[in-house]
């Protein structure tokens, strides 16, 4: 296989860039021009999902939150591997099934490790 690319092939990418930058620039400037300017205390406040903001974002918090969050990400991402496997389940056959069992059992080992180490204890 020989791939010959000419500069014209990159035109879609260039258009993509222009659209992306254009969108950002438009939304930033046009909203300033079009929107009415009513400055009140609530309007200028930090938006925090509708809940009243508490304080500065950089406040110390318990490391346990961080640990739980990291572990959540780990076991959440694991499920992503199952989607392509489930779609191709028939094609992959028994080998694929055994490989998935191996993968899940390794994750299980990790899970046992986490529990026995007390990473999920909340005191």
């Amino acid at each position: 296989m020989v791939f010959l690319s000419i500069p014209a092939d990159y035109i879609p990418i260039a258009i993509m860039f222009v659209v992306a930058i254009g969108f950002v620039v438009t939304t930033i400037f046009v909203t300033h021009l079009l929107g009415p300017k009513r400055k009140s205390e609530i309007k200028l406040d930090t938006f925090e999902c509708g809940i009243e903001s508490q304080s500065n974002a950089r406040l110390p918090f318990s490391i346990k939150y961080f640990l739980i969050a990291i572990l959540f990400v780990l076991f959440d991402v694991e499920v992503i591997f199952m989607y392509p496997w489930a779609v191709n389940f028939l094609k992959l056959g028994l080998t694929g099934f055994i490989e998935m069992l191996l993968f899940v059992s390794l994750l299980m080992v990790g899970f046992i490790y986490i529990i026995r180490k007390g990473a999920l204890k909340w005191e």
């Binding site: 020989v2 791939f3 046992i112 490790y113 026995r116 180490k117």
Partner: protein
């Protein structure tokens, strides 16, 4: 492939041993796992087998380097028995070392750029944590963070390079890339060469070659001494095995392009490493700079590929790793007793333990490259191979910088034979604490007397 499986299972077992209250069995278990892996690795000799859809290729080159990696790690385990057992998280540290060894083995067996990337990451991520395993020490924290930041940056380069190579050749497989490059040599796009340079950058970061060495002294100096030992011996060996394998198996058809890069890098690395090492007062930092210098000598194998460069690189790495283990065994014991790591803190070693001083001398001579020890033949093979490659100027620079090296290596030898500065210099608590030094000294001598047995393997 068996080796990779056994090592990862041993790693997982080591990790779980704490959970199941089997901490006492941890050390024996790790050693047993390493021994089994070693046997399986040697058993693969003479075979040419691919696994996982041609992603892993076990040939003699891979077998030799895998065996060396596991053997050196075995010695490392012997000398660090008490280090991790004093920590509360000993089992994690053992597991991390075993995992990083698995990554190293993957880096020597790869036949696919994705496996190279995977192996490098498994090797590195474990080490980022290990570098900071002395949690109370600020320098250890600094080393860990620095290593992590710069290592990730280097990995980014490597990945971008792999992506560009894939873009140019539409394959990750070494054989396919090589065949494609052979076929289309001369009409390859510019970004293929950019990809080679980026991969080169990413991997030479890991072997701490100038100009990508700035992280190395601080990381090697700040990490716990035994982790530094592991980095200098096993990690350097794995990274060089991967670098050489990649460029010889894959990019050999365009060697005119990358040879000058390696030649210049090699010359600058050994000069800078050796000259900076002269000014160090701390033994650990001096050895860190000397490891940069040794990376320069090893790069000579890539500056003149083909011929005997393969066995020269192998022999050099082996000689270097063995002498590093020996010297660091002394450094670790000295540090444990006196809490100091300067060159002058080995003073009085001969008075306390003459045999240990002689063994240390052998290891230091091996690093300096003086007969009759292994390091001399490492340098000899390397210089001969480079001369055959036609790079006389590089050999001249190498000889010159070796002469500089002799100066600071002899500072340590002289210190070992001087009168002790402090009264209480018991260099070891038990006689077995310096076993690895004795093994390494004798191995250096044996390799120096009978080099052809090992050098003839590849």
């Amino acid at each position: 492939m068996n080796t990779i499986v056994i090592l990862s299972v041993t790693g997982i077992a080591a990790m779980m041993s704490d959970v199941f209250k089997l901490k006492k069995a941890l050390f024996g278990l790790s050693l047993l796992g390493l021994l089994i892996a070693l046997v399986f690795s040697v058993y693969d000799w003479g075979q040419y087998a691919t696994y996982f859809n041609q992603m892993v290729l076990t040939d003699n080159y891979a077998v030799v380097f895998t065996t060396m990696l596991i053997g050196i790690t075995f010695l490392w385990f012997l000398m660090s028995k008490d280090f991790f057992s004093s920590h509360s998280s000993a089992s994690e540290h053992y597991a991390l070392i075993l995992f990083s060894l698995t990554g190293g083995v993957m880096m020597t067996n790869f036949s696919d750029l994705t496996i190279l990337f995977l192996g490098l990451e498994i090797l590195s991520i474990a080490l980022y944590i290990l570098a900071g395993s002395d949690k109370g020490n600020l320098f250890s924290n600094e080393a860990s963070l620095k290593y992590f930041m710069i290592g990730s940056f280097a990995t980014g380069f490597l990945l971008f390079g792999i992506a560009l190579i894939y873009g140019a050749t539409s394959s990750f497989n070494l054989q396919e890339i090589s065949a494609y490059v052979q076929q289309h040599n001369g009409s390859l796009p510019m970004y293929f060469y950019a990809g080679i340079l980026m991969i080169l950058t990413g991997l030479t970061f890991k072997v701490s070659a100038v100009p990508f060495h700035f992280w190395a002294p601080d990381v090697y100096d700040g990490s716990p001494t035994l982790v530094t030992t592991y980095m200098l011996s096993v990690v350097k060996m794995a990274a060089f095995a991967a670098l050489y394998r990649l460029f010889i198996y894959c990019f050999a058809p365009v060697y005119e392009f990358w040879i000058p890069v390696f030649a210049i890098m090699s010359a600058v690395t050994m000069l800078l490493g050796n000259i900076t090492a002269v000014y160090q007062k701390s033994l650990k930092r001096m050895l860190a700079y000397s490891s940069i210098a040794h990376a320069g000598y090893m790069l000579m194998a890539l500056a003149s590929p083909g011929g005997t460069s393969r066995s020269a690189l192998m022999f050099y790495l082996l000689a270097y790793a063995i002498s590093t283990l020996g010297v660091f065994n002394v450094l670790y014991q000295v540090h444990k007793v006196t809490g100091r790591e300067e060159i002058k803190s080995v003073k009085g070693l001969f008075r306390k333990n003459p045999f240990a001083a002689i063994m240390l001398t052998l290891c230091m001579l091996s690093m300096a490259g003086i007969p009759p020890v292994a390091g001399f033949f490492g340098k000899y093979y390397m210089f001969v191979s480079t001369l055959n490659g036609g790079l006389t100027w590089l050999v001249l620079i190498a000889v010159l910088s070796s002469l500089i090296g002799v100066y600071f290596y002899f500072k340590v030898i002289i210190a070992a034979f001087q009168e002790p500065e402090l009264e209480n210099t018991a260099y070891y608590r038990q006689p077995s604490d310096l076993t690895v030094l004795y093994i390494c000294g004798i191995l250096s001598l044996l390799l120096g007397i009978l080099p052809q047995f090992v050098a003839g393997l590849l």
